[in-house]
Symmetry: C2
């Protein structure tokens, strides 16, 4: 094992947003010198990493030159210049997740093809390189359209219900999927290190708002049968093994009407669905990511207590300097921990933070989560 | 409530060592802008706070000028220039713990007098202003001698067994205490905010090495009867109430042969005996300190799981660039979390970090703690 702790070892991270910030908590805990690259001078990580570099993650030279300054490179966002990573890797830099894996996952068409090739259950799909090409095809409505690249938090995904909807689609490289009716949207985080050690986190469940069709709560453990949970973990594990992925992989899954598990898509990094782990798990997803990329033994992914996560997003109708209204009210509630990402300006639906609710009893945590959701407001002055 | 989160509010902290570093984890989580003053340019906090100022904590002008740059001031070490704090407070700055409380606690003679005056059980003591004055007195041996000021981690404390030992004592303001034989050394952390809300953490127990007479494990919960535990928490609460202390107060206690609880001494801050709380408690002592000084509602101090803390101190015979030998071995063990403070140089007995072991079952945690203790070594290259 290399000497990572209070040493001259330099860990590089592409991206300095909230995922990077929560990763820094872990590198600080281990005193691993961490260098961050991000496009924004006021990125959440800027003031609290050992060294901050400002520059575009999509620019070849910027990423390449940054890579030359570190001993091992990882990412907190997958939209980065992969060509620079490939060159750096060829020149001997360790990069996890591997550029070859990122290249596949970054492109939803290649990602789906990979699932099919590796017998990973997923909804049937077709790839198109332009809107014109797509228009030549006959479809059963409704279907799911996804931009092949750069989608984020639901952007770049549309449910197409009729011919007229097709004309509203962007003219871009895309995939079309069968719309699978599902009972539950689930996720499993998998960690794998260079030695091939691999561990899956418990299954989490996304609970949707009954009308708004938005995820309201991420719940761990998912309220599903043990049989379905084991199937979900086994499939997620298979996905990470197929990629020979090193680092954290978040596998988003659907539980179908007849309890089949199919893979929706994957993210090659720490993930919103794993934020509960900071308070609830023996090893948080962020510590686990550090362990996996440095080829340290993986930690216990099981939970101490049940955990529920509520995203804090900017309220509609408010833009400007953020105010977290009623913070004192939620801090009064048992087992409630707010995480504030450090973005000074709120905008409608901008992810500004999250709140974790933990309790020995999941039903109690669920009640508190609803109170939190109905109490705190992300507004502006 | 003031707007502390992602706002222009500036929290000042006197001291940038490991306690400050673990506090930063919490201020980062809440995105509270934190400014640190420390004498050492390479203090553990230097690179990871929002703003770092280098300067002596004992220098009036340095502390006063630093205080003028922040909206609220706290400490991570009690050895600071109190006169500067008194002036800042008189000029309207909020300082927690209060300078008047720090002034008493900073001086062990005043601290003991305070206990006596407030009917807080403690061992009988006498104060002396010099060694010459002490020598005039007749003593029963053995007794405990404590330097009145600036003791740290056992420095400034001596067990005096004979007349000849007296000649080895420093010529300084000091106290002499009766040596009380005790069954257990315990500690209770109390949090209190400006509104008067007060919460005690569970009692922790110091387990000593059978021969070396050094604390080996800090164990939560202490393996004592519920009756003794409740008495210890009640006495600790009374101490904090008596001081009208705002912030965290660590109360060190002895359980005597006949199960009386007496107060040994107090520390007006986060404390080594509360490090287990980061992994084991619903609210870590560092988050609780932030909540208490900002007059936020206090969090739940109870534990999710049992926790044991092992200090990582520099091994005898090694000085220089630190290496944590066998880190991979301890990371393999379940529920084990190392904290590395970020001191580049090890020296014999220097506090370099700590390891927390958590488990649902305290006996299991105790077994793992012993394995950790026997495995990891803090040495130099």
């Amino acid at each position: 094992m290399k000497n990572y702790f209070s040493s001259n070892f330099r860990l590089g991270v592409l991206g300095g947003g909230q995922l990077g910030k929560m990763l820094l908590t872990e590198t600080q805990k281990f005193d691993i010198y961490t260098v961050i690259l991000d496009g924004a001078a006021d990125a959440p990580c800027a003031q609290i990493c050992n060294e901050f570099h400002q520059g575009s993650l999509m620019d070849f030279d910027t990423v390449y030159n940054f890579g030359k300054k570190v001993d091992l490179l990882t990412i907190e966002i997958e939209h980065v210049n992969i060509d620079a990573l490939i060159k750096l890797e060829a020149e001997g830099l360790e990069i996890y997740p591997q550029p070859s894996v990122l290249k596949i996952i970054q492109h939803k068409g290649k990602q789906k093809d990979f699932f099919v090739k590796n017998n990973i259950p997923t909804s049937p799909h077709k790839r198109f390189s332009s809107l014109a090409e797509l228009k030549k095809e006959q479809f059963n409505f409704p279907f799911v359209w996804k931009s092949a690249q750069f989608g984020y938090d639901g952007t770049g995904v549309k449910i197409v219900k009729s011919e007229s909807d097709i004309n509203l689609l962007a003219d871009t490289d895309c995939i079309v999927e069968e719309l699978i009716p599902f009972k539950n949207e689930l996720a499993v985080i998998v960690a794998r290190n260079k030695s091939g050690e691999i561990k899956t986190y418990p299954v989490v469940e996304m609970e949707f708002h009954p009308e708004a069709n938005q995820v309201e709560y991420v719940i761990c453990p998912a309220r599903i049968s043990e049989e379905v949970a084991l199937k979900a973990r086994a499939i997620a594990l298979k996905v990470a093994e197929s990629f020979e992925h090193i680092g954290l992989l978040a596998v988003e899954l659907f539980q179908t009407a007849n309890d089949e598990i199919i893979v929706n898509e994957v993210a090659p990094r720490t993930h919103n669905s794993g934020h509960y782990s900071i308070e609830a798990s023996y090893t948080s997803q962020f510590e686990q990511h550090v362990r996996s990329i440095l080829n340290l033994p993986l930690g216990n992914p099981e939970s101490k207590v049940a955990g529920i996560m509520v995203n804090l997003v900017g309220e509609e109708g408010f833009s400007g300097n953020v105010v977290y209204e009623n913070m004192a009210e939620i801090l009064k509630m048992d087992g409630v921990t707010p995480h504030i990402y450090g973005k000074k300006e709120t905008r409608p639906f901008r992810k500004m933070g999250h709140v974790t609710i933990v309790n020995n009893n999941l039903a109690e945590a669920r009640k508190t989560a609803e109170k939190v959701k109905n109490t705190i407001r992300v507004i502006s002055k």
